[in-house]
Structure formats: C-alpha cells, structure tokens
Symmetry: D2
Subunit: 387 residues, 4 copies
C-alpha cells in the first residue's frame, strides 16, 4: 500500500493577489527511489493527462509500489483559466506569448533566466568525480542540480522573479528529484504518441504507443529536456575524460495522450495502464512491463515536419491522424468559398488539395478547422523506421 | 440552369483600413420569387454551413430552380478571424462583447440602433391596407421594411454607423428581400437540429432533422427573428382589425448543422440535400420535399434549458448529444482533482455527477471539456413532444 | 471611531476550482443607517476607484461616522485578471461577452436571470401598504427586495447558477441593504463625472464633479439602476394610488473617476474628499457637504451621444476631454497612412477630420488611439444645461 | 524634389482569404544610395512612429534628398488588428505567441526558419574577397544576403511558409537593401530613447535622444539586429584574416518614440526632425545633423534591467519615466487592498514600496497599472555613463 501525501504549490499570483496553485499528490512505496514525477495539463487545453493521473490514483492502490510517484494533475492553472469564449487555447501565455512548455531552466548550461553562475559545469563536475563510484556521482550530481535551482532562485531576488521563472522553479524543484519524468500532453488532433530520449528504445517500447519521436539531448526549454539533457551532458562529460560507465541516469518523456480538448475518465484507465507498464520498466512499480505492440513507428524529431497552410481556409482531412501516406497523396483539402471567381461556382475552385511532400505518417492535424495562411495544417513523421 | 452572379459585401473595415468582405452568390431561376436567403458562419467557429453552401452550388446546377437563392458562405469574416491560439470562439465580438447573432434590427419595433422613426408601425400599415389584396400587402410591406432599413442607415450618418449596425445593415439589406431565410449555425457539441418559427410544422418536417425547437414571434435580435417576426406582427395586426386571411408570409430558420469546429465537405452534401428538401417545400426548387423521418422531437424554445456547472472542472459526458434522459439520470461528470482532500485520493472525490433536473433530450454539450463554475455544461429539451 | 469588519466574498470559481474573491470592508458608526455601499473596479481596467476607497479607509478614521459604509475595492477579480498582453480591457467578460455592469437583477421587474415569481410587484406592495407609515414601508420594501434576491437564488439551484447571476447575487446581497450606492468606474479617457438619478440635484452637487449625466428610472442592468429604480418604481406605485408622500428612498450613482488604466494614490485622496462630501449630504457622515463648484454641466443620459469612427485609423484628439465644442468643430483627426493614394503622400490625404455633429461637451475619448471603423471615437454631452 | 512610388506588400493572408497589406512609400533622391529603410508599428500598440513617418512625408518634400528613403507606416496590420476590447496589446501574435519583433532571419547564421544552406558564411565570403576593394565587398555581400533571403524562401516552398517567416521575408526583402534601418517602436510608458549598435556613437548622437541603449552585435531576432549584425559579422571575418579596413557598412536602430497607445501628429513633427538629423548624418539627406543635446545617457543593453513585481497589485509610480534614481529609492508602490488584514485597514498595509535595486535611470514602466506578480513593473538603465 502506498503512503500518500498531498500539498499545493503556487505557480502564479494574479493581479488581485490570488494564488493559483497546482495540487501535488505523492505516493510513497517500499523505498524512496526510483522516483517518478508525472504532471499533466501544462498546456491549458491538453486535458487527458488528468484522466490518466486520476486512474493512476486507483492503479497505485492496486499495484505494488516499489519507489515513489509524484503526481501533479492540472499542473498549470494559469493556462487552464486563460479562456476566451468557450475555448482554452493553452499553449501560449496570453500575457507574455511564452509557450508554457519552453521556459524551463537548463541546469547544465545557460538559459534565459539564469546567469553563468547558476548552472552546473559538467566537465568540472566530471573532473572532480573522476574516480567516484556511480552511486556517488548520481547523488552528487543531483545535489549539484538542486543547488543550481536554488542559486537561480536566490539570484532572482534582487530584481524579482519573472512569472515564467516562477513557474519553472515551482515545477523543477519537484522534477529535479526524479529518476523518471513524464509530462502528459496531447497533440492538436492526434493519436497517442511519445517523445522519447534518443536511445531509450526498450523503455519507449514499454509504453506501447504506436508512434515515437526521438529527441536528441539538446535543450530547447521543454520539461522533458530539462530533466534528461543534464544527465546526458554528464554522461558525455565523463566520456570525454575516458570514463564510459556513466550512462544517462534520468529519462524523461513527453507523453501525448490523443487530442486537445478530449477528456475521458474511461480512456484514462487505458492511459494509466500504459504508464504503469513504463513505471514497471523503470522499477518504480514491481513487475514486468507489458509486451509492446507488434509495430512501433519512429523517427527523429528533426524528421517530424509541419506543413503550413498554402492559403487561408477551412480544412477538411482526407486521412485520419496516424495514417501512413506516400509523397503526393492528398492529406487535406483547404476550402475557401471566396476563391469561386468563375460562375457557376464550383467546389473544385474553392478547395485546394494539400498533398504530402514526402512519404511518412500524418500524425497531427491543426486543432481548429479554420486556418490562416501559414498556420500548421498538419505534421508528419518522415524517414520513419520501426522502433 | 441557374443564372449566377457574384459580388462581395463589406461587413467591417478594420483599424488599418482593410475591408472585410463576405462573398455573395446569387442563383436565379425561372422567376424572381420565391427568394431564399442562405448564410453560414456568422459565428466564427461554426463552420459546417459553408460545406452545405458549397454542396448547394453543385446541387443548384442539377436541380430545377424556380425562384432565387442568395448564398453567403463565410458571412462574418470579422468573427472568423478573431482567432486566439488555434481556436476561434466566434460567438462574441472580442471588441465589444456583442453576440454576432443578436444585433439585427427589429423592423417592426424599437431596437437598439434605431429611433422610433425607423421601423414600420404594423397597425398603421394594416389600417392603410385594410382592403388590399394579399399580393399588394406582401409587396407593400416589403417595400416598407426596406424603407425602414434605409431610414436606419440614413439616420446613422450624423453620428456614424457603429460596427454592429454596419453588420446588421449589410446582412439585412439582403435578407429583407427574402421569402425564406436560412441562417446556418452549429451547436457547441450537438447533433443536427432546427430552430423553427412556431406553427411552421410542415416546413420544419421538410428539413428532416430529428430535433426542432419552436421559436415564438418575439424579437431577441437573431437573424431568423429579424426575418419572420415582422411578418408575424403584420399578420397579427390584420387579425386585430378583423382580417384573418393574411398569414405570416416569410419564414426563417436557424439551422444547426452539428458541432462547432467540425467541417466536412462530404457531410455537407447531406446537409445540402436536407436544405434542398426545404427549398422544394417553399417552392424555391421544383418538386416535392423528401418524406420526413419517422420521428421528430420538438419543444418550445422556452423549454430548452441549460444546466450550469455546479463547480469548476473537466467535463466527461455520460451520454451522447441527442440522447433522451429521465430526471435524475447522470448526464455528465465534472472532475476536479484538487477536490481529492482525503487520502489515498479517489476518483469519486474528484468527480461530481451532474444529473438531468427533468426528463428530456440532452441536445448540446459545452464546446470545451474544461469549464468554470456557472458555465453552460449542457442544454436539454424538456416537455418534448413529437412534431 | 468606526468599528471595522472584513470578509471576502466569492464572485466566481474558475475551471481549476480556485475561488476568486473580493475583499469587503465594513465601517460601522454610531448607528446602523444610513448605509452606503461603495464598490470599485467592476470593470477590470477601471482602477482609480480603488485609490479612492483606500483613501476612504483613512478618511473614515478621521471623520465622524454616523451610519455604515461598506467598501469593496477590486470588486471584480474575474475581470481584473482577464489580461491580454499588458492590458486589461475589462468591460466585457472574455468568456461570455457580458458587460460586467449590465447583468444585475431588476428586483421590481423581469430580468434575464429570474422568473416572474422572483421580483416584487410594486403595485401589490403599495396596495398592501396603502396606509403604512413611511418607516414601515421602507423596511418592508427592503425585506421584500431581499426576499426577491433569495428567491432568485433558490430558483437557480435546480439548473445551476450561471456565472453572471452568481456575480449579481454576490454583489446585490450587499447593495440591496444600502440607502446609497456608489459604483466607482472610470471613463475611457475622460475627466471626472457622475451618472446621477434624475431629480437628485442637490446630492449630485454635493459630489462637486463638473459634469453630470442624468439617469432616468429605467432598468438597463447597471448596478446604479438596480439599486435606485426599484425604489422609484415603489414611489410611482404609491403615487398611482394617490399617495404622494413616498419619495425614492434610495439613490445610486456611477462615479467616473477619470480615465481607464490611471491609478494614483494621491489623486485618490481628492476623490475620497468628494465622496465624503456626498456621504455627508446623505447623513452617513456627520457634517455638511462641501460647497459645489461654480458650474456643473448636465444633460440627460439620452442626450449623451457617441460618434462612431467613419473609417479605421489612428485617432489624434483636437480637444481635451471635458471641452465644450460647437457643431462643426474639429474634435479629432482619424489618420490612416494607406489613404495616401496620390503622390507625393500628404498628411491631409491620410487624416480625416471628425467634427462635432452638435453643440455640447466632448466628455470621453476611446481608450486606445487605433480604432476600426464603427468604434466609438468619442462621446459628447448634448443639449447641456447648468445643474 | 523626391520622386515617389507607392506599393502594398502582403504580410499575412487570413482565414477568409483577405490579404493584410502594409503600404510602402519610396522617396528617391538624386542617387540611389545611401538607402534608408524606415518602418513603424510592427508592434500593434506602438503607434507614434506612424506620426513620424507622416511628418517625414512632408519633410522629405522640403529637404534635399540625396539617397533613397523607404517608408512603411502601419507595417504590421496583423498586430494592429489583434484588438481585445478597446486595446491592442500588440507585442505577441495572439495566434502563436511570437513576439512580432523576434522572428527575423539571421542571414549570416542559423535561425529558426532556415537551414544551414540558407545563410552566408562570412568567413568563406571574406576568404573569397580577401583582396577585393570595399565597394565590391559591399555590393557582393549585399547580393549574397539577398541570395540567402531568396534561398530561405525557395526552401520553404515544399512544406509551406509559416506565417512568421512570411512576415520576415516580406520585411527583410526590403530592409536587406538598406544602408540604414530605422524600426520605429515605443516603450510601454517611456520617454524617447534609442537602441543603437555598439560603436555608433556619433550617429546615435545625431538623433538627439537623451537615452541610448547600446546593442552588441549578437542576433536575437529583432529587425535592427537582422540588419546590422551580418555586416558586423563580415567586418569581424575580415579582421580574422588580417584585413582591418572593412567597417560595419550598415547600421540599424530601434527608435523608441515615447509610450504605447500615444499618437500625436504634432509630436510626430519633432520626431521627424530628429530622424532627419540622423538621415543627414548618414548622407541620405544633404546637410549636417543637428547639434546633439548637452547630455545623453547610455548603458549597454545588458545593463538595462527589469524589476519584476514582487506581488500582484496596482502600480503607482513614484517617479516619472526617464528619472535618475539611487539604489534604495522608491520607484513605485504596488497596491493590493486585500493585503489589509488588520483593522482598521490602512494604506500602508495595502501598498508595497518597490525600490531601485541599483543606481540608474528608470526608463520604462509597465503599460498597465494593474499587474500580476512577476510582470515587468519597470526597467532601469544601470551602470550608466554619458555617451
């Protein structure tokens, strides 16, 4: 039986002084580690991860918990409440334009909100731990990362903490502790798929999602990168001084649980089952992961390409998200009745056929069926291969 | 074969002087009347009517057109382009809060943008036409309505035309000419249904939609009301002076073609078939309307009730839109993980079951699965009966 | 010395379950009545009333308080936090388009959110109190109004309270108790001015603002109307049964404290002094009101007219807000460089001169210097006279 | 007399197919070069640059034009029309969160929208032009930059041009031709000041603004950087191969003309006079620049620091923008009435004094007087020195 705790963390204080908080649930098992950090709904319109976490509440009561799981549903009340009409777009902060999943701190390199003094120099660390045992390296490096977080926070005091940094600090104080980080998102209109660190093949298979995008160890501001890139940087630094026995000790995934706006408690149970399989792979839960599906398609995130609308109009999909296509196949029609300049007006004049520029899998369509020219109409995996 | 014309009408000029226009397509048949005015997408996020109009382009080439059809897809480029993130909420003007379908002029009574001088007094008109033949009444009244539109426009010149009135004038100059007005909308998440004027039973059946909301002849600012209420007012005025042979000579419908954000050219063909059936009922097209479905459920629009969320949360539907329920049936669950105050956390603590307060048909769910307290969670037909 | 209390009222609960509250401060003097209710910032961008209330905190400690004052700064945290970029537009709810100052309940007549059962029929009340003494009428009517508020609330339970009604109930439960209601707003770009009930001349003079708009006793949804119209209705009902000794027993004012976005603690002290003068007029504070200024200009709110931009462009004011003008005077220039079609380009081609259509006082300019065609460019008092 | 041309460039096509265009005015003098490119209002709420350009229209008719001036007022109709309520925030694209002044292409290095193939390698260029005369270098490098722009455009065809890139291409096709680029912006609430390239002291003095922020030659996405950094990169590359006679041949400035939302034709004349002085410095106009003011204060842009609000509240400035302060001086008060927890309530409890963390000049305050915690409350020049 897990031992549970609950607290609330403040992620922003609004203009009238109200604190916006996220609920944090901690389930503790037989031992402290491995520790998994799981959050959902950092983008305000991406809801299904909350259903997964709710299902995990009950799953963790049924399964045998070895390590610790931190669960943060509704992690971003700022974004969840930036509603216009009935919709929550949720990706960008209406106040600052910031993508809520691009403002995290790079703890082993320079990032926007931190000075040079406030990150860990992996080469110095490796040099200082040249002959330390792995456990000591792991523990020492984690302490160093936590010290970097604290340094950024201390440094921000004189001039005040900007709201983006406040959010990053609130989340990373939790995630920096983790051996495994899962950031539950959704695509716009998409099947379930996974962003996985390069090389984490067996683990990625444990999730059992049919599509996997491989993420190189380059920091771009997302939570998954903020969690695993420093540990890859550390591994690389040790390799540079000739020590090849220090693997990347933390993995992190962005888990895309279907489409924006969708929310189903029932589907959340299946999502929780897949996450539990991964937790077993990482030893957070006892037992073996589920057998992976017969086929998982993967490509590098660099080969995940977006097609931008060649004109304004109404999008009508010719294929379902998750469908393999050949270069030249019609993927969508983009319809603008004002293009009917000759009479009688004809659908053919209004509709532009948009074709796949390359072979691949159409993974994601724009969330809304009306788009301006230059908006992402769909995204495709290209140069795919089996995982 | 229809004779076609195309023009563009300006519905707003933006701050940089760019005119936002709607395309107007006119198909002329053997005779000028009956004249049907069909527009789509006045609410920027309600897209499917455009697919119906595109399908009507081709249907009107195949069928025998007796009267005239004016077709205005993308009628409201203002709203269609008020996009935040990927979404167009589209009901309310981001500049003024105005519902884009509540600002039309009441041509036989006082409305927001017009003085007493600028509407037709139906009792005076009836008195003056006490013994006129019906055709003369019809023609004379339409001219009077057109004069009222012109008077409002003239009157607005001294102090300038506000943007809401400019939109109303642009549309009503077209719709005032019509014998039949179809305003193509969608529900939030809904099946196809119809707002029909009280008493228009046979016509409403000609559309063949399974659900019909009956609209009394009271002006509330919507286009359908702006079109049929004046003619009902006229009929009532004649009845008051003892003449019972003047029926309402114009009908108008708000046609709800499914859900916001959905857009399908294929489904548009079926929508066009239903509209064509109604056009045949009204004699705009030659031929007979299709046989209506076995069952059409109706209620008065006054018995169409909305349930407001009893708390903030994530909505998970227990029934599909269009489903009959009994009072006390669970219609939706409203989920907020922060309600899990006791540990271990349980889904049951997070989820509030929301039940139907009365018997009826759940017709519409909120467009987005995350709602604040007090938002419309769903709407139900109550006191239903077969049409 | 006033006795103080403080509490917080919930005005909305957001999608993540956070309650948005307004702080309520009550200062109690020697006796319970007269009771003044003063709120600020119902429109999220109209800030200066908060400075006035802060200054009143200290003024009420210095002056002799006879009755009771309820002070609610930041009354609308919903609106205050609907920020886009750096700005809070604040008039319309981004979720529903509702003007936050148009959703109050009409307690002696039908309003949007209430059934016929839930308001007071003034004629029945007058008949039942035909020979009651004034004090009894006052007390009985207030109880009846409170019962109406309670009835609306009870009635809303079955289908849930919509967010607009929830806000109205939260505020009106407080304001219905008051003998005097002050709703502190600001104009867009404007001097200080007052909306005063018709006939409240001496009281309006006590405020000492140079401009007064007279509001007839017709309910349009604003707080001031919600407070004084029922009491005027009561007075009228008694007059209809021949009793002329029942005056309107409650007054209410919308007090416009300069421009949106402006906030000055220093100017708030002067604003508080003016409000204190009115509180003395009404006997809430001991003492006499200040001598009014030499000239106060007034007109009926029906003669307060808005000029809508004749085109899109950049507005440059030719006069300051609060300036008298003659018909034909240039009030503003509306500039759009894209109108320079002939070369060399000339300012004269870009700028349209906008002139006063009538004699009057230019009271208010649009808050932003870029406007689309049809936006309110400025508003003027016409048919002015000294108060 | 200048020879004038006018055209319109499309910067975006919206969802209903309407092209949003910016007007381009070209004034040609005696010779083609030097060529100055001047645009205004890329951020939709920063209006005054348009007044400056209008005044330049007439100034260019009065003065002797040696080279060419391209003038683009209202350069960003996308942003100018992203209005919510009465306000245009204007910095961030409501669709994508992008800062409209951070998406330009880095033509001598990798940028977001371009592959490695589509920028100029300055070292290769320098090597290939090791012994070329300066004029040939200048011309050749400009051709290379134009080829890079064309390459990015060609490369974007297969997958479509995203809206940010489309904007960058539309602007940079014009600005890449220039010897001098002026991007007319405003601060939030600020005096007039200048972002000037490091080292351009005499030129910066020619503008005559009292405050100058020095910008290092590092690309961050802004237009001024996109224009001058490539030429600095080229100069550096020549220096690396031992040739020190190739200066930076293009300068670019972001010119901050006061506060957002302000628009004055009259003030625009003075702004145009200052710009004309700079145009004379650069030889675009004949004659000598005006004498600079007695004192110009400067600091590096790295020493231009922002203070983030320590809590939510209403901001009241203690000093005017442009005021020198000492560390510890009160710069603003941040007021939240809900902080009055003890009774009687006191202003002192509501108001937090915000002090300057260092000596410097308070240059800019937040555009709106209500801010959440973590918003930029004000920005200060620190480590200032005379220019």
């Amino acid at each position: 039986m897990a031992r549970w705790e609950r607290r609330d963390v403040v992620v922003r204080t609004n203009a009238t002084g109200h604190a916006l908080t996220a609920p944090v649930f901690v389930a503790r098992g037989r031992q402290a580690r491995p520790l998994a950090y799981v959050q959902a709904n950092v983008h305000g319109g991406e809801l299904q991860g909350n259903a997964a976490i709710l299902a995990l509440f009950e799953l963790l009561e049924r399964e045998s918990l070895r390590g610790t799981v931190i669960l943060v549903p509704r992690a971003n009340p700022v974004s969840a409440n930036q509603q216009v009409g009935d919709y929550v777009a949720g990706v960008y902060d209406l106040l600052t334009g910031n993508n809520f999943n691009r403002g995290y701190l790079y703890l082993t390199g320079p990032s926007r909100s931190a000075s040079a003094a406030s990150y860990v120099d992996v080469d110095s660390f490796a040099a200082a731990h040249e002959s330390s045992p792995l456990g000591e390296i792991q523990e020492g490096f984690r302490e160093a990362l936590k010290a970097a977080v604290a340094a950024v926070e201390a440094e921000s005091r004189a001039w005040g903490t900007d709201s983006r940094l406040e959010f990053a600090l609130a989340i990373q104080k939790m995630s920096v502790e983790a051996d495994l980080v899962l950031d539950l998102h959704t695509g716009d209109r998409a099947p379930r798929y996974l962003y996985a660190p390069e090389g984490a093949v067996a683990a990625a298979r444990a999730f059992g999602f049919p599509f996997v995008l491989e993420v190189p160890a380059r920091f771009g501001g997302a939570l998954d990168e903020s969690a695993f890139v420093p540990w890859q940087d550390l591994s690389d630094a040790f390799r540079r001084i000739g020590r090849n026995d220090v693997p990347r000790l933390v993995d992190a995934y962005t888990v895309e649980l279907g489409s924006m706006n969708a929310f189903s408690l029932e589907a959340g149970k299946e999502d929780a089952r897949r996450i539990a399989s991964a937790l077993r792979h990482y030893g957070v839960l006892d037992g073996e992961p589920d057998a992976p599906p017969a086929q998982i398609t993967t490509c590098s995130v660099g080969d995940y390409r977006s097609l931008h609308a060649p004109g304004g109009g109404l999008g009508d999909h010719a294929v379902e998200p998750g469908t393999p296509v050949k270069a030249g196949d019609v993927v969508a029609r983009l319809v603008d009745p004002s293009r009917c300049r000759s009479l009688p007006p004809r659908v053919a004049d209004a509709a532009v056929e948009v074709r796949a520029p390359e072979d691949g899998v159409v993974l994601l369509f724009h969330a809304f069926s009306s788009v301006p020219k230059g908006a992402r109409l769909f995204s495709m995996m290209t140069r795919t291969r089996p995982l």
